[in-house]
Symmetry: C2
Subunit: 325 residues, 2 copies
């Protein structure tokens, strides 16, 4: 295991002039590793940058960083207005720091649709419709003529395996597969399938996690026209565990809906190995929308979405289409 | 003079599935040439694309295309909802087709700040803070491993000279200069300074153009908070001609303000060779804003903005700062 590189010696004070790099709230492996690798890339290119995270590590990301011998990036709650920032793996204000509109966004590297982001001046923005931010970050290294260091290769490979569910997700592109094949030997990971299984097992090892934390592990808030919904996903190799806690989870969803004044909350439970999605549906409101948007009936608080396992590519577009009519 | 390449054999019907590529309303040389070169690049990369323009050619662009032996791209007024589009040299709805929000934006190549653009799904977006879209297009050719054809090199070089006023504008970057130096020999243009002077002379040869057309030659509408302003620029080697028509122009500005229900209209008259900007100010309303935003007094309908010659980098940011306080 390597010693963490000096870029992870994080500062407790934020310097104006130093670029702060972070992924979305409720960070997943792509959000955290993209911040680390992009901050490193910017710094190597002459733009000093520091990686942060906007929330607790999930179990998979904690495993990835532990295996890489790295500390987690520092947790960030706020930045002063005018701070220079680089956004990775997100661009919408609902998924970022609360005062994003006051920050000076200089860089974005993302693979999501463009939401409500604006910049106060011309900036460097890179969006590509890929399975993972990490695949785009590999491309940026090549364009900059920089080799990928082994620890960065491990982080990028982990993010690709995570975001594509080891190439099972319909968001997977040829570029994601090529990137993973290129990165694995540099990362020193011979058995990619075995490593992916270990990552997914770590993510599925949920123990006695509180239901509200389980709901929020991979959870994003989306505006749909005049409505605002919270959509969570639990990707697991052990869906039986999650369904065993269904009553608790449905209560936690109701509580979150009230506390955050949302119009609806859904939680997809994705069986990674069988590539299926059964969704927890907390009330008649959500059941009606799920029926209308997906043609799927809710029974006993559960809607079987079959192979619609991608929130980004399948769930959100269907909900957007429904709410825009 | 070369025969126009087949990519300029424009279709009269727009095919869904074919990408339509266009720059901003009131197109300038960068907007028109970027559409031509990017449509060509997309097509060479396996994505069939057609270039369009959203308005009449200005005199400089007409000169550039004539010298290149090319026809103008077809004029575009509208596209059916859902059409696939690539935006070049702009991203804000006020500068694009009226139903931009209904179009399926798949690609953007731009060097302006990010405005109100959103995409309905993940797309390929490239923004860099450069002097010209053309400089970014050269980079995209290199990344795609494609050589620049001579006619494209001529178009890109022309755009760089136009947008940077032959490197006089404060928006000019090292990358713009490097791109021009790389492109000139491929374009077969030995005397770059002489060619730039011919472009600027063509642009300044305004003859008996109607005052409302002169106002609109390089004119963009900008939202500032709750207000909407129209800001035109005349870049000329012969400012005396423009000031000789000052009374007509001030009337045309008043008429446009009323017709388009704008809160203010300004017209900067940029002396290309001396790198100065004197602005036509049609009423007390605009005079008050110019005084507050730039600390410059208006006398006889004119405000002397000195060396503030860049709308993008100097004029708009100052107005935004004023209206945001």
């Amino acid at each position: 295991m390597q010693t963490p590189p000096p870029r992870c010696g994080l500062q407790s004070s934020t310097l104006l002039g130093m670029i702060s790099v972070f992924g979305h709230l409720n960070p997943d492996t792509d959000a955290v590793t993209a911040a680390l690798v992009y901050a490193h890339l910017l710094s190597r290119s002459g733009t000093p940058a520091t990686a942060y995270r906007l929330g607790d590590l999930n179990l998979e990301t904690a495993y990835v960083l532990r295996e890489a011998g790295l500390d987690a990036p520092e947790l960030l709650f706020s930045l002063p207005a005018g701070s220079l920032v680089a956004l990775v793996d997100h661009n919408e204000s609902a998924q970022s720091l609360p005062n994003l509109a006051e920050l000076d966004v200089r860089y974005v590297v993302d693979h999501h649709k463009l939401g409500d982001l604006t910049t106060s001046q011309p900036a460097s923005l890179r969006f590509e419709p890929l399975g993972c931010t990490a695949t785009l970050l590999l491309k940026l290294h090549r364009e900059a003529g920089l080799s990928i260091e082994p620890v960065d290769a491990r982080l990028l490979l982990s993010a690709i395996l995570s975001d594509t569910l080891h190439f099972r997700s319909p968001t997977t592109t040829v570029a994601d597969r090529d990137a993973a094949a290129f990165l694995a030997p540099i990362a020193g990971i011979d058995d990619v399938a075995g490593y992916a299984m270990q990552m997914f097992a770590a993510k599925s090892n949920l123990g006695d996690i509180a239901a509200d934390k389980l709901l929020k592990m991979d959870y994003k808030v989306f505006p749909f026209g005049t409505q605002t919904w919270g959509i969570g996903v639990v990707e697991t190799t052990n869906p039986a565990y999650v369904f065993g806690r269904q009553a608790e989870l449905l209560s936690a969803m109701q509580a979150e809906k009230a506390a955050a004044q949302l119009d609806g909350v859904l939680l997809g439970v994705v069986d990674i190995l069988n590539e299926t999605n059964r969704m927890l549906v907390p009330s008649e409101t959500e059941a009606g929308v799920v029926q209308a948007a997906f043609g799927v009936e809710t029974q006993g608080g559960l809607a079987d979405l079959g192979q619609l396992i991608s929130r980004k590519k399948q769930i959100i577009p269907a909900l957007e289409a429904y709410f825009s009519t």
